[in-house]
Symmetry: C2
Subunit: 355 residues, 2 copies
Amino acid sequence: MKKHNFYAGPSILPEYTIKNTADAVLNFAGTGLSVMEVSHRGKEFVAVMDEAQALFKELLNIPDNYEVLFLGGGASTQFCMVPYNLMKKKAAYLNTGAWAAKAQKEAGFFGEVVEVASSKDANYNYIPKGYEIPADADYFHITTNNTIYGTEIKEDLDVNVPLVADMSSDIFSRPIDVSKYAVIYGGAQKNLAPAGVTFVIVKKDILGQTGRAIPTMLDYRTHADKGSMFNTPPVLPVFAALQTLKWLKEQGGIAAMQKKNEEKAAVLYDEIDRNKLFKGTARKEDRSLMNICFVMNEEYAELEKEFLDFATERGMIGIKGHRSVGGFRASTYNALPLESVKALVETMQEFEKKH
Amino acid sequence: MKKHNFYAGPSILPEYTIKNTADAVLNFAGTGLSVMEVSHRGKEFVAVMDEAQALFKELLNIPDNYEVLFLGGGASTQFCMVPYNLMKKKAAYLNTGAWAAKAQKEAGFFGEVVEVASSKDANYNYIPKGYEIPADADYFHITTNNTIYGTEIKEDLDVNVPLVADMSSDIFSRPIDVSKYAVIYGGAQKNLAPAGVTFVIVKKDILGQTGRAIPTMLDYRTHADKGSMFNTPPVLPVFAALQTLKWLKEQGGIAAMQKKNEEKAAVLYDEIDRNKLFKGTARKEDRSLMNICFVMNEEYAELEKEFLDFATERGMIGIKGHRSVGGFRASTYNALPLESVKALVETMQEFEKKH
């Protein structure tokens, strides 16, 4: 039976990435050695790192005064690296979910934190608007896509202070204007690579202004100065990331990817809105194109477990919603084919007929 | 031609690890999905993480009051996590090489650092002995194996303060008495796994004593409390680590591995000492069993490049010495077969006959 991988992350990767990585685990770049057992200073891996950074910049049209870094430690480590590197006295945060709140909490170790707005009271089912950012904030932090709640900031905000964004779960899903951001970061395990590598896009001239002594590995300058090779990078995850970047380019780039993502999301949201058994959990205008959350309509609440089993039997994987929202979540990352979304929709329709 | 992988790190891994990882990249644990695209909260990966921690503890005979963590960021990140978590006012360091010095430098961000001894004046070609550790030091930090210089502390030291060891390049090469250490850490990319995962063995009751506020991801307690699953771990590197741990057990465990390592090192050091063209760089009593450094004897200095080419033509990979020592370095990690050492020795003998 065909499996449809709707995991929220780590999550589906292109077959191109999987196949090329499997090949490289056995024989990397014709070396006769595994990509897992070659020096990161050897010319073959240096070429991988260089190409991955170049393609990352090309696909996102990143200006020259930014560096692309591939680090370890996950986005959670960036939650403290951002204030370590950027916060003098005060930082502003938009609280749009559990991960946004975790990021915000870490800033508290370094200075004053202003929560400009929060949707926590509505279980984070929307993106707050119309807030004011203190003009003296050193930066404003947002989480563009909220994986758990299925909400997304789908445009590049215009704000009055340096903008920092956690794009763990929507990087490469739509074109972005990088010049509007000071830092963009994320775990790679959604749209890019297997878990184990974290991307950071950092505007160089914003660094070194806090007067704070920063331990070497936590200082963005360390990595920016060494082309992300200060210490041994996560070699295999970076290799896999390069494969996904090549695939993205071959697919027509980010604008083409956005079109496909919009199409996939429309097919699924339309069914959620049409099907009498289900309803979406996020406000329509803030619906995520990456994580589509839905629950049973009240009058069918008792069918939740039955639908999960019904869908699982039909090859749907990872559609159980996060416990803080309940119901279901279909993650429709770049690598998920429209075919999988259609299979889920058919499953929902079959289930509706049954009831 | 058979390749002999003498890279210093990332470095040779067992064929068992490579084959099983390649298989899992295509189909992990019968899921029909790649190990790169499954949830780390799924039962299949949770089982991998649990087994990896259990086997790690079993092979090193780790007491119950220690946790084994698999983190990101490399040993270099541990250089600051150690003082962040353990240093109240003062820490003692043994300066045995470039990496030891880097670890020592990071401690300076957190308090007073006492360098108890250094072999820097002799280009780190020996391990200092007979030093005194201040009784009021919060811990004493050592680097057990110095990859660049080919020296090694081959026994568990008895010291008067908590002992912290970077064992990046000799973990699992010999049995150790973990109870003598407060923390043991290392990058996994020598004897364990591909780059991208860092192991930390930490004695739980030493934590939480500094009074310092520690950002969440830098606090060992965060990871110890969550079985190393606070955030998404580096899934594939942990999977690969488990394969190596299984292989180690199947090989007879660490004591059997030590015997093989001693045999391999003896074969190569004997040839270095016998062959008129070469000489070892480390003091004999401190010679590493993992990284064997040698240079041309003075009267044959001009043959260095010729020997490198001669050996490369015969399938020797990664034997160029680090620029700060020069000459040659053959890394003889656990996964390197005796056959490869013998091939190198034959190459040295052939080259001697030629001259």
